[in-house]
């Protein structure tokens, strides 16, 4: 393994470069709003920011995928997302049906077009 790992061991590395840099954002969110009211304007705004951030994460997961998903062409991933959303609407907003339909299209597309 790399120098970093042999230097301090995988457990210490996990805490120093995995846990701490990740947790800092949770703690910042905690410190910033402790004591604020649910209906205050700042909280309404922060919630909108959180929802938009979630949407951006979602777009990133679909458009620039990692790992095994990256082997599937991006337009198959986008097509599968749209198919899933369409099935979700037709099935009266059933999350289960939507996820299933999206996965089915992804697998079909992947089986045909993935190298």
């Amino acid at each position: 393994m790399s120098a970093a790992l042999t230097e301090m061991g995988p457990y210490l590395a996990l805490i120093l470069v995995g846990f701490l840099p990740n947790e800092v954002w949770r703690v910042l969110g905690f410190v910033l709003v402790r004591g604020l009211d649910e209906d205050s304007q700042v909280v309404v705004w922060v919630r909108a920011v959180a929802t938009a951030t979630l949407a951006a994460v979602l777009a990133q997961l679909i458009l620039s995928s990692q790992g095994a998903l990256a082997a599937i062409p991006v337009w198959v991933r986008i097509g599968a997302s749209c198919a899933g959303l369409l099935a979700f609407m037709i099935a009266r907003r059933s999350v289960f049906v939507g996820v299933l339909a999206g996965e089915a299209v992804l697998v079909a597309g992947g089986a045909i077009w993935a190298p």
Binding site: S2, A4, L58
Partner: protein
């Protein structure tokens, strides 16, 4: 003695915790997390980590993108590079924790009772929490959220160990399918959560603005997208509110 208090006597915290735990079992995210963390467990096997390490990684970090980064770069990148990449991938937790706490805290809440909800906040727990918490009495929300989060975190821990042992046998198409569970379920569950204009607007704008900003390669694109799209949605919401109240 204190018979004059107006609030109804709160049921026990363990009762609310169990209700949250039950909610996690019936949530679509329970199965999404299972599938997704089988993928992460398989990845940790490929990079030579132990099952104990991967469980600790899941419990301590509890963020799939950050875990993928730690697992796949720890062996090759410098420690600073890993730390920066992990931190950049987790900015979303700031607004998520910041919008969660006002929902679950009340006048008598001690800070230390909010530390576990803070740590349990991941994108799946937050999305389910936003959907379910409004129908839970305020006094019971923190315990309920803890139950929900612990249920999902437990599923993730079990799945990451299962994935570790399944790794050698996982065909690439199935692995891709497991990874695709997260964006699919986030998309549907967020769409079914949208009830007011500001939510739908923030979500739609984020989907459009996100890739545009990511393409500029300015860094911190999630943070910028959240601020720009979220603020725009908030502004529209305020303008409409002002118009409906005004003469």
């Amino acid at each position: 003695m204190s018979a004059t208090t107006a609030a109804p006597p709160p049921r026990s915290a363990s009762h609310a915790f169990l209700a949250g735990l039950r909610a996690s079992l019936t949530s679509i995210f329970f199965y999404v997390v299972l599938g997704n963390y089988i993928g992460i467990g398989a990845l940790s096997y490929q990079f030579g980590f132990s099952p104990v390490w991967i469980v600790l990684c899941t419990v301590l970090i509890w963020a799939a993108p950050a875990q993928v980064i730690v697992i796949s770069t720890l062996a090759t990148a410098t420690l600073i590079e890993v730390a920066v990449a992990v931190s950049l991938s987790s900015v979303r937790f700031l607004p998520m924790v910041a919008s969660l706490l006002p929902m679950i805290q009340h006048a008598g809440t001690r800070s230390r009772d909010l530390l576990l909800p803070m740590h349990l906040t991941a994108i799946s727990v937050w999305a389910e929490g936003m959907r379910l918490l409004p129908s839970v009495p305020k006094q019971e929300r923190a315990a309920f959220y803890n139950g929900l989060g612990c249920g999902l975190l437990f599923a993730a821990s079990v799945a990451s160990v299962a994935g570790f042992y399944l790794a050698a046998k996982l065909p690439p198409l199935l692995a891709a399918m497991l990874l695709f569970l997260t964006p699919m379920s986030l998309l549907m569950s967020t769409c079914s959560n949208i009830r007011v204009l500001i939510d739908g607007l923030a979500f739609g704008l984020g989907l459009v603005v996100g890739p545009i900003i990511a393409a500029q390669k300015v860094g911190l694109d999630l943070l910028w997208t959240g601020l720009i799209a979220g603020s725009a949605a908030y502004l529209v919401h305020r303008l409409r509110e002002a118009r409906s109240i005004g003469p």
